[in-house]
């Protein structure tokens, strides 16, 4: 019975994926892509990956959708109306179709030919997670067993933020007001919902060691709260100067590096946390990572967001 649901869900996801490349307009594509992310989140739940589902819904559908929508709006500023006819290739292009069919069959062959049962690293990781005191195995993998990946990922996120900052049109993003949607309804909605989003972010970090959640999901919620504030016309507060922004962008990576280096002084190797302080170290790291991931997501959006009609300077 569940198999029927899986096949139907997958069919819907594929159909939406096709729609998100529809030549009938960029806005339609973007909206379809957001819907795609939400259905993917459903798929992750079915695959027993609630951590990924949380991240997909908040980052994959939410943040990506917002920056895509903003870009779609930006690209229309000087060319109102639908995409020019010559940019729209209706019908099917034969060569790309051939390429994608070949890619599909190669991938499908590989997937089908793998053994139907493989435990992979699950038993090893579950046992290791019990030893480390981090009950959520995914969090244990992210920050403990595969700490290198996450360390470098945070570095990638920071580098991308720096790159987006250097590509921006406006000289400074601080104190910038974005295109004003700030009606009374959106304003009060934001006022009510923002404290709850902060609460949820804190909750997700705290339970991340035992339940689905953690720095990435919490960072995504924090980032979404920041983007919502920016979109509702709240300018960044006075104390959030250049230095505060830069510090919150980098503090996650810096704390991570410091904690990664700390075992070296105890005679261990990089990222080999001592058993007695493991949980404390990981929680400390996650807290600062959340702040940095949230700050990065907000910056990735605001740094490249189109300014409001008044030039965007608050």
């Amino acid at each position: 019975m569940m198999l029927v649901f899986d096949i139907m869900l997958m069919a819907v996801i594929v159909w939406i994926a096709l729609g998100s490349l529809s030549p009938r307009g960029v806005y339609k594509s973007v909206v379809m892509f957001v819907v795609f992310g939400l259905f993917m989140a459903l798929g992750w739940v079915r695959l027993g990956a609630p951590d990924v589902a949380l991240a997909e819904a908040a980052i994959g559908a939410g943040v990506t959708g917002v920056i895509l929508l903003d870009a779609a709006g930006h690209l229309r500023q000087r060319t109102p109306g639908p995409i020019p006819e010559r940019h729209v290739r209706r019908g099917v292009a034969p060569l790309p179709l051939l390429a994608s069919v070949i890619v599909f069959f190669v991938l499908a062959l590989l997937v089908v030919n793998l053994p139907a049962e493989a435990d992979g690293l699950a038993p090893l990781m579950t046992a290791g997670a019990e030893d480390s005191g981090i009950k959520n195995v995914v969090t244990a993998v992210l920050l403990d067993f595969r700490g290198y990946d996450t360390l470098l990922e945070i570095a990638v996120l920071m580098l991308a933020t720096v790159a987006v900052f250097s590509l921006r049109d406006a000289p400074d993003i601080l104190g910038r007001r974005l295109a004003g949607f700030a009606g009374p309804l959106l304003g009060s909605f934001t006022r009510i919902v923002t404290p709850f989003m902060l609460l949820i972010a804190g909750h997700l970090v705290w339970i991340g060691s035992s339940e689905p959640g953690g720095a990435f999901q919490a960072g995504a919620v924090l980032g979404a709260a920041g983007i919502l504030l920016a979109l509702s016309g709240f300018a960044s507060p006075r104390w959030a100067g250049r230095r505060v922004v830069r510090l919150s962008l980098t503090v996650g990576l810096l704390v991570f590096i410091a904690i990664a280096l700390y075992p070296l002084f105890l005679g261990g190797t990089l990222l080999q946390y001592p058993d007695e302080t493991r949980k404390t170290l990981i929680l400390a790291m996650e807290t600062w990572l959340t702040l940095s991931i949230g700050a990065s997501l907000v910056s990735l959006f605001i740094a490249s967001a189109s300014p409001g009609p008044d030039g965007g300077i608050a």
Binding site: P23, V26, H87, V103, L107, R146
Partner: protein, 104 residues
């Protein structure tokens, strides 16, 4: 047919849809969406194959995909920043060598 196969094959299909979009759609925003679709296809295959374990699913691909989602949003933001800059400078939304006045 096992349920990991549904998602594994679906992932392969979505990856190839992304490949098609990347090659066949001239609009740069479509290309960014296509890159995201290719990423999602890879994620589906990874986590789908991690579901072959008896009992609980393999957490390692899940952690990798979690990392991948964050890197993908960084890629998307950087890609879109470049696309917007390109549009500001040239007034074009595609990589075709069209005369710019047709677009401006």
């Amino acid at each position: 047919m096992n349920h990991y196969l549904v998602y594994g094959l679906g992932g392969a299909l979505i990856f190839s849809i992304g490949v098609y979009g990347m090659l066949a759609r001239p609009h740069l925003l479509h290309k960014v969406v296509a890159a995201n679709l290719m990423g999602s296809g890879v994620f589906l295959i990874l986590i789908g194959l991690g579901n072959r374990a008896q009992g609980r699913p393999d957490p390692v691909p899940q952690a990798m995909v979690l990392t991948g989602i964050v890197v993908t949003v960084a890629l998307t933001a950087l890609g879109l920043a470049i696309v917007k800059r390109y549009y500001t400078v040239t007034g074009l939304t595609t990589l075709d060598d069209d005369p710019p006045e047709a677009d401006a």
